[in-house]
Symmetry: C2
Subunit: 471 residues, 2 copies
């Protein structure tokens, strides 16, 4: 964090805690500058941030005042999807979303890409150069089937932070978390099988199920605490479900972290019904609080958790470096990897292994946690400011995704078509359900920088929603 | 080619053509050196090559003589596999082969890796550096679903050489030819379906079928001319076959190029029976004769050929750059790509695109065609020299793979276990069949350099086979 961000966070906390009350005048720029030993312009920048966040308002010639408290929008309620297995559809809508990647003029609030412009990513560039200079033979050769050992050793180290102690031999590299999930599903399921998912559920995972001809049963999920154990149990009693896909830490799209007790409860439920858990930890390292939350895998005693993750969100998507710790399905995963996908690019694996080994990864992730937290707060303020009343907004505990629920009458599929012309893209909520839910919801990617253009885009989005409400 | 290789090839041709006859004395080193304007040591090196090839024999103090003509071993006969669909097995045996990649001490005659040490590959290294310096943002970002356009444009150009005129939009990038075949099969087939294959058939493709729960029916195949159209037709009349996987140019493992008339015949058979052709062209660019042979795709008028290839054999395996031109299955392939695998690494795509665009690719492939031709000849000589009588050996028209058929009593699975201790690895023929054929066959990778150690390895292999014959 820079100095002015630091100061802004401090002041915001004081306002939050009531040390400065609504309507009260804030210290002058000069006195803050002296108190904190920073320049006048730093203080001015901090005040600008707080003004953008609508925490303070300037009054010409008399200084800054704490803004009247605006009620935080509530968090959406527990979801209530249809309780039966369904086929996933809406591939065309997902394709439209993906196609936007080719158009550089579009502001991609609908995608899930991280910020790759931070200076803490610089060492990765050096590692990539080094790999090409000194390990060219490895870069050009076939990888081994499980993936580069130096990388698997580093992944094993990272997994300790989530509470899991594994060896490099327990880990298989995959070309991203998505491919890791594919391997997990191929190892456990047959076409026609049923798998339970959180609801809403990331559209990429939904399409993956469709691609493998697996049916999804969407389970009610609480935006603060995760999947309903009770509803999952009921579903398990009614349907021959093979496993459940969970994103328990910094959920996509809801942002929750499952409380530890619930993680244990869902695992013991899985044991009782002899199903597997596909644990997707792709955002888990970006939890706001440090140290990071534990994984369900860390409680797994009989190898029924197939743990999947990647550096897509923490480092960069283009590296295509992911992994799976498949527990008792290791042999099957290896065969499916050979049969369905083949080996991976060794070059990016070697660069990522060195990036982690030399401590750059932890430094980078530490920074990104703070960057994203700040951005989530600011985007939440902008949404509150520009969107109509009566909305619900999640309070993510990590990652950089925001989920907004609008009044029932708004159809975000229509709104997003209107937004196309404005070159603003969002992810309509309907993509996150196979049973027609969430047409009045949207997901926003808050990893996009806090520029004036992006603020304008949120404003346009607000106008489009207002228009839809009135139509 | 270096000077001495050039001279050796010239002399070998003269011997082949009978200009120098068996038993005849060859020109002295001094006179050849004057005639060709090369150094004494160059001539000596050439004679050494010919001696290694057993084309000439030195006689102390009197010079070199043309060796008595040894009969060329015959080419194996048309294969005769069981004519019914079978489940692919032998994953454990394939895994053993793959595991050898981790042991640097093993001489990998069983693998399919190309030679990546030639100087014509140097520009690729420069391109990789350039991409990291100047296109870092692209390298770190998600690729588009069909893959980088600059690469697809270059692939479209390459495909012209095989007679196919397509646009970049008709091509989808995949992480290797194997992944391209997976996408092709996923787009066309369901689990339980039957697909016809050449027999013998590359074990990777066989395992791919197994991974997707597709049954294989192995069709008799002629080591000179490819799949038997008649046998394929009979099979199509008997079984509900969805498609046929063909490697018509520089076949793996047999090395044939299907005559043009046969390529057309198999396509019109496919049309009559309304099945698709999965065309695997991975070795097609390495045909000995120039210009390269045409693809079946080039005759395809109704989009039923799903054409798959990669730069794995022509450039390097570690790049994981392959592609598919799926004809009328384009939309399904895109969905399956998103659902099953996800996008690819952009970095290596950008480097390969530049490598092709700037002419380095064609220069490199031109060189490799010559290198491999020379090596195939030399390895064939070594096999003839060290293996027992009564063997059959293919005469590859390109690529770098040699297929050897031994007397029926030899079990190469046993032999290859014995070879393990000698750190020599070959691909036992049984991996190339799902119905228990080819236990007396093996495949040799002649991309391995012509070193003394490799010659020794072939010698050991010969001894092991001799022992097996006598046991
Ligand atoms: C929850 C979740 N799982 C999996 C993926 C896919 O990750 P990758 O790009 O590493 O394949 C994403 C990416 O958006 C995601 O959000
Ligand atoms: C005939 C054939 N098809 C496909 C492949 C797989 O190629 P890739 O490594 O590009 O996935 C190979 C590699 O050995 C092959 O020989």
């Amino acid at each position: 964090m820079t100095r002015y961000q630091h100061l802004a966070t401090l002041l915001a906390e004081r306002i939050e805690q009531g040390l400065y009350r609504p309507g009260e005048k804030l210290p002058s720029v000069r006195s803050l500058s002296q108190e904190h030993g920073v320049s006048i312009s730093t203080v001015q920048q901090s005040y600008q941030v707080l003004e953008n966040l609508q925490l303070i308002t300037p009054q010409p010639r008399s200084g800054y005042f704490v803004a009247p408290r605006k009620a935080q929008p509530p968090v959406p309620a527990m979801s209530r999807p249809v309780q039966r297995p369904v086929d996933v559809t809406q591939w065309d809508e997902v394709l439209t979303l993906l196609d936007a990647r080719t158009d550089k003029a579009i502001i991609p609030f609908g995608g899930g890409a991280p910020d790759i412009t931070q200076p803490t990513l610089k060492p990765l560039w050096r590692e990539m150069n080094r790999v090409i200079q000194h390990q060219l033979h490895d870069v050009l050769s076939y990888d081994t089937l499980p993936g580069r050992r130096e990388l698997r050793e580093q992944i094993a180290r990272l997994m300790l932070d989530g509470g899991t102690s594994l060896s490099a031999d327990d880990i298989v590299i995959a070309s991203g978390c998505h491919a890791a999930l594919t391997l997990a599903l191929l190892a456990v399921c047959q076409p026609g099988d049923i798998v339970a998912v959180e609801s809403p559920c990331y559209y990429g995972t939904m399409q993956l199920l469709r691609g493998l001809d697996i049916k999804a049963i969407e389970i009610p999920t609480d935006p603060n605490a995760g999947i309903s154990i009770e509803a999952l149990e009921l579903a398990l009693e009614q349907w021959p479900i093979k496993g459940v896909i969970l994103v328990p830490n910094c959920n996509n799209p809801l942002g929750f972290i499952m409380p530890e007790a619930r993680k244990k409860a869902v695992l013991s439920l899985a044991q009782r019904h002899d199903i597997v858990i596909f644990e997707d930890d792709i955002y888990g390292e970006l939890a706001t609080d440090y140290p990071r939350p534990s994984t369900i895998k860390s409680y797994d005693i009989d190898g029924r958790v197939l743990f999947c993750s990647s550096v897509t969100k923490t480092v960069a998507p283009g590296l295509r470096v992911g992994w799976i710790a498949p527990g008792r399905y290791l042999d099957r995963v290896l065969h499916k990897k050979y049969a369905a996908i083949g080996t991976n690019v060794p070059g990016t694996q070697l660069a990522v292994a060195a990036f982690i080994r030399d401590g750059h990864y932890h430094r980078h992730v530490r920074r990104m946690r703070q960057v994203y937290q700040h951005q989530l707060e600011t985007y939440t303020c902008w949404v509150r400011q520009y969107f109509p009343c009566g909305i619900c907004v999640t309070r993510p505990q990590g990652g950089y995704l925001l989920w907004v629920e609008l009044p029932e009458t708004v159809d975000m599929v229509c709104v997003s078509r209107a937004l196309c012309q404005l070159k603003v893209q969002i992810a309509p909520g309907s993509l996150f359900s196979a049973s027609g839910k969430y047409r009045n919801c949207l997901r926003l990617n808050c990893a996009l920088p806090l520029t004036e253009a992006n603020r304008e885009a949120i404003k346009h989005l607000g106008v489009a929603i207002h228009n839809a409400l009135e139509a």
